[in-house]
Point group: C2
């Protein structure tokens, strides 16, 4: 986890920008272009299906949108977190854009946290772990994983992370309302399932603790659970936290402050819509703008909101 911790320190910003494009998060100018390109493709080649033409055109606009945002924030944030589901929703074309997005972020010096939430057993987990050990294929520095299958599903990722100087983040307490259904079942000893998972995660990381005191096995802990997050911070002293749920999902800087350690380290906070769709709240944006002007507003708003988030977090952390 040293590389991430050092990247955070170098820009003084413990936040990560979620690159989770969806059609409704893109300006009308980009969506219009995707529609126009779809029509052109269908005109030129009657054998292409409408769905393939559309997803391919939309993927191209996702890439344009992402590159704009990456270039606008690369010097002020340490990391980005593309959510692979948004790309997988467009089929294999979308995944080409996922890797191209990761590649650009990598080239701009950002730590790339692939939010893939993979999880399987044995040799299958080892296949997924190529995300880390064959860096060139997916261009990620870390991935998220699901712990439901136990250590069999985690070891291959940890081994790959050690080999590749990369990291893994296991789900512990997720930010969504129904996370309680399984994660908050009370176990016979009085603790909850997510607390048992927390203990496992701390244990899975124990032989990969880096110079800054954190292991290569981080934990995903939602900003929407400030009390639990504070307790987990104490329970998992060598586990770095990835905190989703700030902003759009309701988590505040005060909510997440207790999930950092005494030095203001130990965690990174994600915001997706709050950064990448901040153009929607700006009076600088208008549907009358041209394509390039719309992208300029996207870039300016992303940068402004990333700076605001940085300052909001640092104020809550007294740094």
């Amino acid at each position: 986890m040293d590389r991430l911790i050092e990247a955070i320190a170098s820009v003084g910003n413990p936040s990560v920008v979620g690159l989770d494009p969806k059609p409704e998060l893109l300006p009308k100018q980009l969506i219009d272009r995707a529609h126009a390109d779809t029509a052109k493709t269908l005109d030129a080649d009657g054998s292409t299906s409408e769905l393939f033409a559309w997803t391919s055109s939309l993927a191209t606009e996702y890439l344009r949108f992402n590159l704009t945002i990456i270039d606008a924030i690369a010097d002020i944030v340490p990391a980005v977190k593309p959510q692979i589901a948004m790309y997988e929703a467009l089929g294999v074309n979308g995944l080409l854009v996922y890797t191209a997005t990761c590649r650009r972020a990598h080239d701009r010096g950002l730590y790339v946290l692939g939010d893939v939430k993979r999880g399987d057993i044995g040799s299958t987990a080892a296949a997924y772990a190529k995300h880390l050990s064959e860096h060139e294929l997916w261009m990620e520095d870390a991935v998220t994983v699901n712990p439901y299958l136990g250590v069999d599903g985690i070891t291959p990722f940890v081994d790959a992370a050690k080999e590749a100087d990369a990291d893994v983040f296991a789900l512990v307490k997720t930010s969504n309302p129904s996370s309680d259904e399984i994660q908050n079942l009370t176990v016979a000893d009085g603790s909850m399932v997510y607390e048992h998972v927390a203990d496992l995660v701390e244990e899975w990381g124990v032989d990969s603790i880096g110079e800054h005191g954190y292991s290569r096995v981080g934990a995903v802990v939602g900003a929407t659970h400030p009390r639990e997050g504070r307790a987990l911070r104490a329970r998992m002293p060598h586990t770095f936290f990835l905190i989703p749920g700030y902003g759009a999902q309701g988590g505040t800087a005060a909510d997440v402050a207790g999930m950092f350690d005494g030095h203001g380290s130990g965690a990174i906070v994600n915001s997706s819509r709050g950064i990448i769709a901040s153009w929607r709240r700006s009076d600088r944006y208008s549907e009358d703008l041209g394509y390039d002007e719309a992208l300029r507003v996207v870039a300016e708003c992303a940068r402004d909101s990333a700076l605001s988030m940085r300052d909001d977090l640092n104020a809550a952390l007294d740094r």
Copy 2:
């Protein structure tokens, strides 16, 4: 689940063939060709990386291997289960082969169960659920999902399944040794985590029960847990089971028989290596065979072992 149940009935075979290629499961003839193609690519274009050339060439051989197996078994099994991790391990090129594999299986009339074990929340789960609702993108009839995030992560898949006449299989009790770590934690009421998950899965399916009495939300229950599987069968009367772990992982026909209902329905048993790599146990195979001959042995052995598995299961089920 009606389509799957009817497909099983039509061939009298409650088994599914796992299409999980790995280099060591392919005959030397195919691996040699992948190496030769890699060398050709690198000779022709010095700017291609060795990793890209290799994964691209290997993906081509995976496809040849899969098509051979699909064609050899399409009239005697109802379904195939490609494990997406094996393809994702080759990057985006691998995923093109995953979709091509699903497409061929679909074209040959097979039910395609995408073993993707996706799981996320809200709009992200909805993006993954395009696997089902935009059939043409991934060509699957069902996918596996991870329940750790609760119903928020499941509803989008169930909605998509209803819309697309497809199905979802949620992990309940997985076949691997460390599945106990989380799944077998004893909850305060004396039951175990996987039993709570079982109850949730049964509930998640309640408004999608089909003509044959099973809902669109199935459960993954490992063949390696015969006692638990039998109890789950009684606990989840409307939940169809996908049973991995038969054969190579140690589960027998007797072990899985108790996971079927009183009519010999209610479950489908997966075998991967036991079918696709059965050529390795055959004296018909030799490294001296030509490429096409090696594939012919792969086909014959896959068909023979699929028939043996069918007969083994049917004997244990008295059908």
